[in-house]
Structure formats: C-alpha cells, structure tokens
C-alpha cells in the first residue's frame, strides 16, 4: 500500500475539518460572546513499518487536525439595553441550564423572565453569589456596578458571579456556551471582576483572518489532490512496466 496515498487522503480529511471550523466561525461572526476556534494541523507519527530487513524505520507523519479555542475578547458594543452586560478583561458569566447543569459564557445578552428573574436568552437563570437574581419591578430600573453588584433603588440585591478557569482547554462547547463535564477545568471565582452594563461583547471572529485561512485551505486541498493524482500515476506506470 502506498503511504503517499494514505497521507494525502488524511490531509484532505483534515482540511475538510478545518473548512468546517472556518464555516462555523464565520456563521457566528454576529453571535455575542462567541469564542472562535483556531485550527492547527499536526503530524501524527505512524508506527514504524516492519520491513523484511528488520532495520528500516519508515516512519511517516499523518496529518491530523486540532481545533483549539483560545479565550479571547471581542469588541464591545454599546447597546443601551439595561440587561446587556459585558465582562471587561477575563472571566465568564455562569447560567444554570437544564437539569442544574452550569454553563459558562461571555455572552451577556440577558433578559428578565416572567417572574422577574434575570435569565439569558435561552431562559436559564444567571447565577450570582446567592443563586438567581430576582428583580422587583416596583423598585425601578436595575443598575450594575463594575464589580457585578446588581442594585435597585440604591439597594444591592445580588452580585453576579464571574469565573475564571485554570485549564480552560478542558471546557466543552462550540463557542458561546461552555460546560465542564469532568470538573477538570479548575473553575474559580474572580474576586474583582469588571462588569459593564448597557454593553455587549461581540464575537471574537475576525472575518479577514477567516477568509485568509479559507484561501489557504482551498489551495492546500488542490495541491493535495495533485499529489494523490501523481501517486496514482506512478502506481499505474509501475503496473504497466512490470506486467507481462
């Protein structure tokens, strides 16, 4: 079996994954708090091929892809919506999803639900030091201090929790919301977060960079196809030459 053919096919597959990553990033260029994925192609070594001489070590590298999600900061947009919040600097809000599952996000596009609880757009309560944040309408509009304290009419109600992770790469998620199913991300509360009310953090996707990557993927794909073609041609020639 030709190693060149396998390597080529693997490369095509890897490039397809890269393209999928780019498409997902671009599709979420308007999603608030979205953390883009960056893609890395790495060579994975095959086991040494056993040859009859026993000494030859025909190692080869199989290209494979890795998507990482570096936690970045998106642009801040002023929305003048009192329930929109952005974290300045590092940190994540937490919301309580279905079945008590805690989800972490930098998407601060919040609302009040029908009971006056501060929730995210999926209806999951935003978590604070003492649980969910209950707003009393008769006390007037809410104001959020930079340290995350939510107050109404000068009275503090709750303080929004902002978390950081020691091992953010252990988080699962596709960009906006993250979960920590193995409790391995090393979550801790940030003592002095900076939360900005009336602002929203946009996606970290840079369309320019994604377009450049896309061109790179397209060209690499074509070149790999040529390599596979060449390989096949050589095999064909060998068959013609040695066939009786």
């Amino acid at each position: 079996m030709s190693i060149g053919l396998t390597t080529g096919a693997n490369n095509l597959q890897t490039l397809e994954k890269w393209q999928a990553t780019i498409a997902h990033n671009l599709a979420n260029s308007s999603t608030p708090g979205f953390q883009k994925a960056s893609f890395e192609v790495v060579g994975r070594s095959l086991r040494p091929v056993q040859s009859t001489e026993g000494t030859a070590d025909a190692r080869t590298l199989i290209p494979t892809g890795m998507a990482t999600r570096p936690i970045g900061k998106g642009e801040i947009k002023i929305t003048n919506n009192p329930y929109d919040m952005a974290i300045q600097g590092e940190g994540f809000f937490s919301v309580q999803g279905e079945g008590g599952q805690v989800m972490y996000t930098r998407d601060g596009e919040f609302h009040l639900n029908n009971e006056g609880t501060l929730v995210n757009k999926m209806g999951y309560p935003v978590m604070a030091g003492g649980g969910a944040i209950e707003v009393q309408k008769e006390e007037g509009p809410i104001s959020v201090a930079p340290d995350g304290t939510v107050s109404q009419n000068g009275q503090a109600i709750e303080r929004i929790s902002v978390h950081r992770f020691n091992n953010p790469e252990m988080l699962h998620g596709s960009g906006s919301y993250f979960i920590d199913p193995q409790n391995a991300a090393g979550v801790e509360l940030i003592e002095n977060p900076i939360v900005r009310q009336n602002q929203l953090e946009m996606s970290t996707v840079s369309p320019l960079r994604e377009m450049v990557s896309m061109m790179e993927v397209s060209r690499a794909y074509e070149i790999t196809q040529k390599l596979i073609e060449d390989d096949e041609e050589r095999a064909q020639k060998a068959i013609q030459t040695f066939s009786v």
Partner: protein, 260 residues
C-alpha cells in the same frame, strides 16, 4: 464534508432574518410608540469528534479535542422597550408615557391588548379610543357631551370640564415583568403571553410606573443610524458566509476530480 456547507447556510439564514428585522425597524421608524426588535444569535451544538481529556493510553490524555460546530441559530427576536423620544403635539388627547407601563385597550374580540401609542381620540359615545378604534380601558371614563377642556396631570389624574360640570378619574397603567415576552400583533398592540408574566396595574408615577405627559406622543425608539450600521454588517456577514459555501463547493469539485 457537507458539514461546512450546511454550517455556512445557517449563517446566511440567520443574516437573512437579521435583515428582515432591520427592515421592519426602519419601516417603523416613524410609527408612534413602536419598539424596535433585536435579533439574538447563538451558536449551535457541536459534534465532538475527539473529546478533550480523552485517554490516549499510557496515562496520556488529549489536551484539546476536536469540536466542530454546526453554525448559528436565531434564538429570539426580542423587543427592546427603551424609551422612545417624546414629541410635542399640543393635542389635549395625546399622551406619552415617560417610563414603564402600557395603556390597556379592549380588542374587537373582547380580549385585552396593551399599547404605548397614546394618540387617543374621543369616540361618538364619548368613550376614549385609540387611533385604530379600540376602546381604551386603563380606568378611562367615557366623557360627557360638550367637553371644554381635558387636563391630564403626570400622576395620571384626569379632569374633564364640560358644560355639565367637572368629571375626574385617574388613569391606571399596566406593566409586565418581561415586556419583551409580549406577543406583537401589529397596530402597536401587544398581547399577554406566558413569557411576559401577568399584567400588574398601578398609578402613574408611583412604584416604578412611568409618568403621563399630556400634549406629547412617544415616537419609535428606532435609531436609524444604528440600524443602518447593523444593515451593513448583516449584509457583509451574509456575503462572507456565501464565500464559505463557495469554498466548500470547490473542495467537493476537487474531490470529484480525484478519480479520472
């Protein structure tokens, strides 16, 4: 392979909805009491190919997995109930609500609707109506014949002076925990839903309810410049997503050429 084609398609679809929302906001830039809608995006669930932390043998584990997203989705189009600018009209039956609250109206089918459009009219029998002819509730009393002057204070106290004497009553306003959850049925009318919470009535200017301003109306809260900027970004995002589709298509074509 086809994953990226569909992913890009979700992006285009979402931007299309964004354009629809912006167009509707712009079309209603001069509608009295109109509240702009904003579209909310979220990414779609991912397919995990290799999970982070998975064991690779001999005590090693993967530092990061491959998580391929499926694109974006529109979660909601929420109405933004910020204050619209207040415009003077000088009409004695025009009222603007400065702050939170809705005026209650009776719909033709007998149900109750809510509006912030305060361009009120007096109907043939003296009852107060909105410009589209729905009877205004909110504790408004029908007016007697021969009205000379109507005075509405910011507290909602109304004094009607007519040939037969004076009539007084106080307007009640209604509010919801989550006004974004109201159902909009057009004509500036909103209906209560499960998501909005139950209506709560109160006196204007008290307990966080807004004040009533006579001789003014509330214009829409659409900011035309902001909408134009959103329009530009939406259009560009649409274009860029179409490029992803083109690129994926080209890759498929390349694959097709593999076998001659």
């Amino acid at each position: 392979m086809n994953l990226s084609l569909y992913t890009a398609a979700t992006g285009m679809e979402a931007q299309q909805l964004q354009l629809n929302t912006i167009s509707n906001n712009l079309a209603n830039a001069n509608t009295i009491g109109f509240k702009r809608a904003k579209i909310e995006f979220q990414d779609m669930l991912y397919q995990s190919k290799r999970e982070a932390g998975a064991q690779t043998g001999e005590g090693n584990s993967l530092p990061s997995g491959i998580e391929l997203g499926n694109g974006t989705q529109v979660v909601s189009t929420a109405r933004v109930f910020t204050q619209g600018s207040i415009k003077q009209t000088g009409e004695q039956m025009d009222i603007a609500l400065d702050g939170e609250g809705f005026i209650e109206v009776r719909m033709p089918d007998g149900s109750t609707g809510y509006t912030r459009d305060g361009a009120l009219k007096v109907g043939p029998d003296g009852q107060i109506m909105t410009s589209n002819g729905y009877t205004v509730l909110s504790n408004f009393q029908p007016m007697a014949d021969g009205v000379e002057a109507v005075t509405i204070l910011s507290s909602g106290d109304v004094t009607v002076r007519s040939a037969n004497g004076e009539q007084t009553f106080r307007i009640q306003l209604t509010r919801f925990n989550n006004p974004s959850g109201l159902r909009s049925i057009g004509g500036n009318i909103y209906l209560e839903t499960e998501g909005s919470g139950a209506p709560e009535t109160g006196n204007p200017g008290e307990d966080g309810f807004g004040r009533v301003l006579q001789g003014y109306i509330e214009s829409s809260n659409v900011n035309v410049v902001e909408e134009m900027v959103n329009l530009i970004t939406a259009q560009r995002a649409y274009e860029i997503n179409s490029k992803s589709i083109q690129a994926s298509d080209q890759m498929l074509q390349t694959v097709a050429q593999l076998k001659r």
